[in-house]
């Protein structure tokens, strides 16, 4: 057993991985979430809190049951799987509000990015809370329980 050989396998794999990511055309930017696409405005929790204090309207892209358990104060439920139905109900309000922030369940959750893109297709801009609900609660910012905003 020669341990340097195992190390060589790992080193060769790492090298091949970086080269593939750089030159294959299938790679992506390693320093940020793969969910982020051109046109997305991603903000941190502190900036989101500033916007809440300035009257921003928050949109909760998580499933409605999660929204009922707890959400950011004032947030409206706009779950990504039920976007078309929920958007139809909220559209008049969303079109008159120019400071929107959408969030979902964390960095493993793509729903906020999808909702923000669907809104953009309809001519409505919404910022995305980076790392979503956990980033907000970990920062100790206020939450509200129940279905009411």
């Amino acid at each position: 057993m020669r341990w340097w050989r195992s190390l060589a396998i790992v080193t060769a794999g790492v090298t091949a991985g970086f080269l593939w990511n750089a030159f294959s055309g299938r790679g992506f930017v390693l320093g940020q979430s793969v969910f982020i696409q051109a046109g997305d405005e991603v903000i941190e929790a502190a900036e989101a809190k500033n916007r809440l204090d300035q009257g921003a309207l928050f949109l909760d892209a998580r499933p409605v049951d999660f929204h009922k358990m707890s959400h950011i104060p004032g947030a409206l439920s706009l779950p990504e799987p039920d976007f078309d139905h929920a958007f139809a109900l909220l559209e008049p309000r969303l079109r008159t509000h120019f400071n929107l922030v959408v969030y979902c369940a964390g960095y493993g959750c793509e729903a906020s990015h999808i909702v923000a893109r669907k809104l953009r297709e309809k001519g409505i801009h919404a910022a995305i809370l980076n790392e979503g609900w956990p980033a907000w609660t970990d920062a100790g910012y206020p939450t509200k329980q129940g279905a009411e905003p």
Binding site: S6, I9, F18, Q32, V34, Y107, G108
Partner: protein
């Protein structure tokens, strides 16, 4: 040649079978083939694999990105060497370490109650059918399967075939 048994010759029939060169050939090729197959879809779709790694919620976005880009290539190289019979013990050791990491991460996901329908172990596109999530998700089946493969990998690392053991220098 003095009639005493060498340490590697000790043990019963089960150990003798586990060190049979044909059994180890099948084990080596099967383990290598599984890991090579498991790596191909991830290599072809690194961004999709990264999204799955995010769901494990172990490393954060940047760490998950690195795993998504690098891990499949390490799997593939170790698998190819294992199948080819080159650096057999060393490539088996790499796979064993990967399996230990996978088992630990899966246990962490289960302990935190995170629902991951597709572990991303073999495909980045499976898992959309709920009835299959028992086999594709992070759960007891995944841990059991990885434990079985870990046993095989450790066997290849620690107990080379009997013929090789006889000729191997101390």
């Amino acid at each position: 040649m003095d009639g005493r048994r060498l340490p590697h010759e000790a043990g019963g029939g089960a150990l003798s079978f586990l060190r049979n060169r044909w059994f180890q050939l099948v084990l080596r090729v099967a383990l290598g083939a599984f890991f090579l197959w498991a790596s191909l879809d991830k290599i072809a779709h690194p961004a999709a694999f990264a999204k799955i790694v995010y769901q494990w919620q172990v490393l954060g976005p940047v760490g998950s990105n690195l795993v998504a880009v690098l891990l499949p290539w390490i799997e593939a190289l170790a698998a190819v060497l294992l199948i080819a019979g080159l650096w057999k013990r060393e490539s088996a050791a790499v796979i064993a370490v990967l399996l230990v990491v996978f088992i630990g991460a899966a246990a962490s996901v289960m302990a935190r109650g995170i629902d991951v329908e597709n572990c991303g172990c073999t495909s980045v596109t499976a898992g959309h059918k709920p009835e299959k999530s028992f086999f594709t998700g992070v759960g007891p089946f995944l841990i059991l399967r990885n434990l079985v493969m870990l046993g095989g990998a450790l066997l290849l690392v620690g107990a080379p075939p009997r013929e090789a053991a006889r000729s191997a220098p101390e």
